[in-house]
Structures are given as C-alpha cells and as structure tokens.
C-alpha cells in the first residue's frame, strides 16, 4: 500500500494514524500519550496527517511522528485525511486516533492483541473514559454522554474512528472512508462500520479499551455536532433502518428517537398551554416525566459520576439534544427521500470524472460508487 521507502529493518505491527487540523495545542497531549504506550515503540509507526492547518500542527507533529503527511490548500476533513494516512501506512493493522483523544497506556497494545488473537475480527473500537478533563458543564455533559453511549454499545458491531483499529486489508477492501460524502467530522466511521458489516466482516466495540476525549464543547458546538454532524447525516447518508437492524440488542436510536418525539410533543403541549390552560401544561410535564423514565439509566449514570447537582445541567442539555436530534433526523430522512445523497462540489466532480491526479489528490469516490 505504501510508496514510502521502508527504512526500518522490520515492518511494524500497527500503524497509528492521527488526522489533525488546527490541533497544535492538542497534539502534544495526544501524541505524547501515544508515545508513552506500552506497545514497544519499534513495533508501531505513528503517522500524522496535517489537514491544511495554519497553526504549526505539522511542526508539532514532527516532534513525535514517524511520518508527517502535509496536505495543502483547503481542509478536506478527517475522512480524507485518514485515507491519505492509510495510503502511506506499512502495518497490517491501522489504528485511527483523533487529535483530541489521549489514549491510555494500554490502548493501542490492546488493539493489536485483540486483532492478532482473533482473525475473525476485522475491526475493534474503544470507548471514551469517564474522566474528561474539560471541566465546564457542557463539556462534562457531552463527553460523559459519549462515554455512556460507548459503554452501552459494548459488543456492538460498530466502528469508531476517534479510537478504533481495523485490518488494513479489510479497510481497503470496503473502499476506505467515504471521503466523497463526508467532508467534515460526521458519521464517516458509522458508515464504514456499516460497509464492513455488509461485507460480512466482524467489528466490535470493547468497553475495556479506553481513551480520554480532550474535546471542549460549547452549547453551540454540542448541539451542532449532534444535530448537523451526527443525526442529519446518519439519517441522510447511512441506511439507518438497516444499520439499526444490524445493531440488534444494542439498538439505541429507537430509544433516542422516541425521546425526541416525546420532547417535541411536550414542547407542543407547552405551547398549547399558553391558550389552553394548565391541563396542557400538566400533560407536558407528564410527557417529560416519561422521557426521564425512558432515559433513567443515563440520568442515574450522571448522578453516579458527578452527583445529583450535575443533573441540573445535564437534564436540560439532554432535552435540548433530543429536540435538535428529532429535527435533524426528520430533516435527514426528508432529504434522503427527496434529494438523495449530497452531491460533491462541481469542481471536485469534474476533476474526478476527468481522472485528474494531483497532490493533494482529488476527493475520490468509493469503488462501488465509481
């Protein structure tokens, strides 16, 4: 796969690929954690792909990495960057670690151990831990919610590109990340996991392979990520009903979908209460009570890890999230039905049709779409 000359005596067991854009402040944390891993350093290679940063990301990466890939021009998104990293990787296993993820000492060693010991597995994903360092309420809520989502899908056949590993041959066979459709950090990993399943390859989430998510969230970025970069593309670009079916007992979107519908109903009842009186308001409260009941395990988790006071922040943020998700999923399904897949930029499509090859390369279609 690689055209980089092999200079070391032995090929590595693992290639760790870190896509980075404007991450000069985070990379020292994430890359130093990787370098401190208990997998001997000569058994893995570190590839950092600088996605057209303007903040010295490449220079910081050079202090740690075995290979730095420099992409110029406009940022093209993590799916594109990870694909470029995979193209210069030399190991049979690829681990994708985001620039804002700090691995635990054993994370990448466990990836290698799991995939080397079970040849049936094509991919394994880790979980974010319950100790996110960003201490404001929104960041705590959002990062703990991710931990909860990961832990409640342990064993599920999903792939997570923030902290996950996949066999190189399977990654190539299914056509890499879909850089054609996903131009921002969205659900490109969910979609890749879907393709692995459709190809009959096993992937699994492990709860005991953990990493720390360093991301700081604002209210706007949290809602935007959930609504525009997760729910909407999930509903529009991934065959959501089929993907849900694959998840089997790990299905979570059904509960989230029901919660979203109930929160919208409660909102409608609250509006009706303005003219209809307190009975409507009582009905709205009852509906919100049902939402709390449906999500009682999540709220109990928040209380358990951050105390009852944290629920004062988490509950409204959670309800707001359900509102945004409900809107986005509806919009995504409507777009999928009416418009279909999002078209690429006209110039990209034209270059791709002509077969123009430059560096950085023109965004590529997946082989089965070509």
């Amino acid at each position: 796969m690689s055209h980089v000359p092999r200079l070391a005596p032995r090929p590595p067991r693992l290639s760790v690929i870190v896509p980075a854009h404007g991450a000069a402040n985070l990379l020292p944390l994430s890359l130093s954690a990787l370098v401190a891993s208990d997998l001997p350093r000569d058994q893995w290679e570190l590839i950092v792909v600088d996605d057209a940063s303007r903040d010295g990301t490449a220079s910081v990466a050079a202090g740690f990495a075995d290979v730095v890939v420099r992409l110029t021009g406009e940022p093209r998104g993590p799916a594109y960057a990870r694909n470029r990293g995979a193209e210069v990787a030399t190991a049979p296993i690829l681990a994708f670690i985001d620039a804002d993820v700090r691995v635990h000492r054993d994370t990448i060693r466990r990836f290698v151990d799991i995939l080397e010991s079970d040849q049936r597995l094509a991919a394994v994903s880790g979980s974010y831990d319950a100790a996110p360092p960003a201490d404001d309420a929104v960041s705590q809520y959002r990062n703990l919610l991710e931990h909860w989502r990961h832990q409640t899908t342990v064993g599920a056949p999903v792939f997570c590109s923030g902290c996950g590993a996949v066999r190189s041959e399977d990654f190539l066979r299914v056509g890499k990340f879909d850089e054609w459709q996903f131009r921002r950090p969205q659900v490109e990993d969910v979609e890749l996991g879907d393709r692995l399943r459709n190809a009959g390859r096993l992937s699994v989430r492990r709860g005991d392979v953990q990493a720390t998510h360093l991301k700081s969230w604002t209210l706007g970025s949290a809602i935007s990520a959930d609504a525009w970069d997760r729910s909407l593309p999930w509903a529009r670009l991934v065959d959501a009903p089929r993907a849900e079916q694959h998840l089997g007992r790990h299905r979570r979107w059904s509960a989230e979908g029901m919660s979203s519908a109930l929160v919208w109903l409660a909102l409608a009842l609250s509006v009706a209460a303005i003219v209809g009186g307190p009975r409507w308001a009582l009905a709205a409260v009852l509906v919100l009570g049902v939402v709390c009941y449906v999500n009682r395990a999540l709220y109990a988790f928040f209380i358990q890890v951050r105390g009852p006071g944290f629920l004062a922040y988490a509950l409204p943020l959670s309800l707001l999230g359900f509102l945004a998700n409900g809107f986005s999923v509806t919009a995504g399904r409507a777009l999928r039905a009416i418009v279909g897949d999002a078209p690429p930029e006209p110039s990209v499509q034209a270059f791709a049709e002509v077969g123009l090859r430059t560096w950085p390369p023109v965004r590529a279609r997946r082989p089965d779409d070509a």
Binding site: P9, R84, R357
Partner: protein, 111 residues
C-alpha cells in the same frame, strides 16, 4: 539531491505525493557510515528527497559522501534535542510525505 516526484497522474493517490526522508543523526562516525550505506542501498534508485539532520559540526565534512548517496546534509547544533532536529528536518524537507528515521535505525543491505 535525488529528484522529487512530479505530481503526475498515477493509479494511486499517494504516488502523486513528493516524498522526503529526514534522517536524524547525532553525528557518531559509526552511525553516519551506516546511514550512507543504507541510503545508497535503499534510496539511490528512488525519487525521494533525503535530508540528513546531523547534530555535529564535523558532519559538514561528509557532505560530498552523502551527496553521492543522494542525500543533503544539514548541520544542527551539537547536542541539539530530538525535537529541534525533527523541526529542522521538517523545515528543510520539501515533501508532502515526510518520513523521520534515526540513522541507527536504518536497515542495512540484506538485514
């Protein structure tokens, strides 16, 4: 210097990239000789830019030897920390894909 790749059409996008190899060296005689041998063996027929960043003032004397092996030598302050060597290497390299390797880690012929 070995000529860089042209960004020409090819079947694999990575082939369109220009590759640079930055060899980090503390300037020890033994490892520098090893680097020259390894570079001659592995890179002489490739279109790869090779930059040797050497933390030793004496390294300049070996410039011609490295040039024959297809590499360009850049002298760094003696005892410069690794991060500085890597930073110098990245700044000196023109490649889109920059590979870093220590001279002592270079594979010798038939190793």
């Amino acid at each position: 210097m070995i000529p860089l790749n042209d960004p020409v059409p090819d079947t694999d996008s990575a082939r369109g990239a220009r590759h640079s190899v930055v060899v980090l060296s503390t300037g020890q005689e033994e490892t520098l000789s090893r680097a020259v041998t390894a570079l001659r063996d592995q890179l002489s027929d490739r279109e790869v830019e090779v930059v040797v960043v050497c933390a030793s003032r004496d390294a300049e004397q070996r410039g011609r030897e490295f040039a024959d092996a297809g590499a360009r030598i850049v002298v760094a302050p003696p005892a410069a920390p690794e991060a500085l060597l890597r930073g110098i290497g990245l700044a000196e390299a023109h490649g889109d894909v920059v590979t870093f390797v220590w001279d002592r880690q270079l594979a010798l012929p038939h190793s």
